[in-house]
């Protein structure tokens, strides 16, 4: 049966019927869910997020043609592995931004440009996205980031240096900031 299923996934991809491919990946914080479209990585699910809920959301908002297909996520998995080992400071993955819109997407694009090992404030991100007063909305954009880790919302802190929140839980945010040398380990 395993062979049949592998053949099916390969053929679905060849025939252009694989709209969303997903796989799980290990991380020091627990299993991640990775999902991509033909355009690029579309969703990263953190360990504390329910994979079934995320997949149902993808089926509803992107396409119900959602198939588990680990081979399609090889590059993303490799880069994340290197990142967690401290050997990769910049992701080189095509991204599909379709799960965020308008102001939130502008905030996330600005976050994607924060260099490894540095932090910015929510106010700075709101300003970059074109509305310096929309600090709370910038926080929401971080909280609903569909591509955490790769779009490094963990590098956004409150003005004054307080950690703020994190979709994957604060211990994970602290862990990532330690990994990047922003917090002392």
């Amino acid at each position: 049966m395993r062979d049949s299923l592998d053949r099916l996934a390969a053929r679905a991809s060849d025939e252009g019927l694989l709209d969303v491919a997903y796989a799980t990946a290990d991380s020091p914080f627990g299993p991640l869910l990775l999902a991509r479209t033909r355009r690029g990585l579309v969703r990263v699910g953190l360990p504390n997020q329910d994979a079934d809920v995320l997949l149902l959301d993808l089926a509803t908002r992107v396409s119900p043609r959602v198939l588990e297909s680990p081979a399609q996520l090889d590059q993303a998995r490799r880069e994340l592995d290197l990142y967690f080992e401290g050997r990769l400071t910049e992701f080189d993955l095509p991204l599909d931004w379709q799960l965020s819109r308008d102001f939130r997407r502008r905030v996330l694009r600005a976050i994607a440009r924060i260099p490894y090992g540095q932090t910015r404030s929510y106010t700075q991100m709101a300003t970059r996205a074109g509305n310096e007063r929309a600090v709370r909305a910038a926080g929401t954009a971080c909280g609903t980031n569909p591509l955490p880790l790769v779009v490094p919302c963990h590098r956004v802190l409150r003005s004054g240096g307080a950690l703020g929140g994190y979709g994957g839980g604060l211990p994970m945010k602290e862990g990532l900031l330690r990994l990047e040398g922003i917090l002392d380990s």
Binding site: M1, S4, L8, L55, L56, A59, T60, P64, E68
Partner: protein, 153 residues
Amino acid sequence: MTALPPFQTLIDEHAGDVMAVCRGTVGRSDADDCFQETFIAALRAYPKLQDGGNLRGWLVTIAHRKAIDHHRARGRRAVPVAEVAAVTVTDPEPDGDIWAAVGTLPPKQRAAVTLRYAGDLPHSEIAAALGCSPEAARRSLHEGLKRLRKELA
């Protein structure tokens, strides 16, 4: 109307049943082709499916259609050979004898028995898949079972 779940859910939950229907209708050696054709056709049609309510029945019905396609294609491909090689097929599954006997039934009885017992479809859905009345589906099933009982006695 029920929202469509991720297609992977259909595979996780129903791949075994679809494979059983394929084995029952086209036989073990061609079952994987039937299985692939079924899920590719389902995947192609899936986003336009109106209702995610009875996905299992929908898949089994597609499998049945693919089995018919397979039999037709096979009829066209058939070439006369001088001698048929004697091959003994050993079946590792406990139900092997039964499904081998199912394979010898006339097409309609074979389909009715497979859809009922491998596909677990009710009479009304078997009738829809076979394109006949529920009464005729019931009759095909009954005749098929009678013949099997005799065969396996």
